[in-house]
Symmetry: C2
Subunit: 183 residues, 2 copies
DNA sequence: CTTAGACCTTCCAGTTTTGACATGTCAATC
DNA sequence: GATTGACATGTCAAAACTGGAAGGTCTAAG
């Protein structure tokens, strides 16, 4: 149950936020780490409230509800951080395709990897640019947000390099018999 | 719907396999790419059969059913490879924790990253050892399986290095005022 | 002969995720 | 005064995923 802790964690760090606020955070700062839809966020807020981990601290203009973490909520976040060990999710649609690329003509397969390398390069550059632009504060969210952003940059860089390597590997196999016994 | 294409893809490549065979493949060769439980695999086989993408080609000893792809199935796999563009799944429990590590004492946070780095190092070494051990054939599954295995190795290596870097960053912030103006 | 272990499938109950649809308020602009 | 757009919440059905339980068959070793 990670969505629950993502929501809870944001509320604890922000010390008060509405579902709408959280949605924006999911879209922006948590985008590379955990995604969530509206229905998930609002649903989870209701559950967290029912379980006494958060509470409605104030109500604002448009039916806005500002949630704040209870002591039980802060304890639970801490417990999750310390005790629970996440199993790394091993699911990757891009890689799944690579696995079956042998079903295409070699030239198409290599084109796919070249495309992939280009896309990853762009993403890496995008994050690198972001790193330059953003002025970081001294708060926790800034510090740890910076760490995850750097992770994203490294991830895309790794991926780009791998795609280039893989493309070269395919090239080697596609036309190998050229210099096998050329003295 | 990627599970569907993972199952379909394996059946196409193997040119005939039972649910049991597929399960083993998911556990071994597809482990770093896509995971699936028994109920998912058998369920998907039923659906694929109903949709005419695969068919029971033979029945074996223990109620074993050997599935084979139909022409429609092969077309669908190809269509998926060429047309559909996967959206990279952005969900990572380990990173999610890092995002909230500011809730712990700095020393605990650093310990978490050190642990993480160690775990990633072990995994990387595990895959590296596997690369040495395995004797690769000349078939497609071998070639492309080799590519994804190398991806896994690079992924864990990147992750280890990042965790070490992040730990150092935290250390810098934990005790920064030591040599600011030490001539 | 018997028994352990690999082989093999089916079903299910509960949870999570997805992707809408529905509803309404407030602030600023035209 | 009307319209647009950001703000804000809520509900739902369908799909996907989890984690088993249950039941049965063949083979080889002891």
């Amino acid at each position: 149950m990670s969505l629950r802790h993502a929501v809870l964690g944001l509320i604890v760090e922000l010390d008060g936020a509405s579902g709408y606020d959280l949605m924006k955070l999911f879209e922006i700062s948590l985008a590379n780490v955990w995604t969530a839809t509206q229905s998930q966020v609002y649903g989870e807020l209701a559950k967290l409230t029912a379980d006494g981990l958060i509470e409605v601290a104030a109500e604002g203009p448009r039916g806005r509800k500002e949630y704040r973490a209870t002591d039980a909520g802060r304890d639970e976040l801490r417990r999750w951080l310390v005790e629970e060990q996440p199993r790394p999710a091993r699911r990757d649609g891009v890689l799944l395709k690579v696995f079956f690329l042998g079903q295409l003509e070699p030239e198409r397969a290599r084109a796919y990897l070249r495309d992939s390398a280009a896309t990853m390069g762009e993403r890496r550059d995008g994050l690198a640019a972001l790193q330059q632009e953003v002025t970081w504060g001294d708060d926790n969210l800034s510090l740890y947000g910076r760490l995850t952003l750097e992770y994203g940059r490294r991830f895309f860089a790794m991926r780009k390099e791998w795609a280039e390597w893989a493309e070269a590997e395919l090239a080697r196999h596609a036309a190998p018999p050229e210099d096998a016994d050329r003295a």
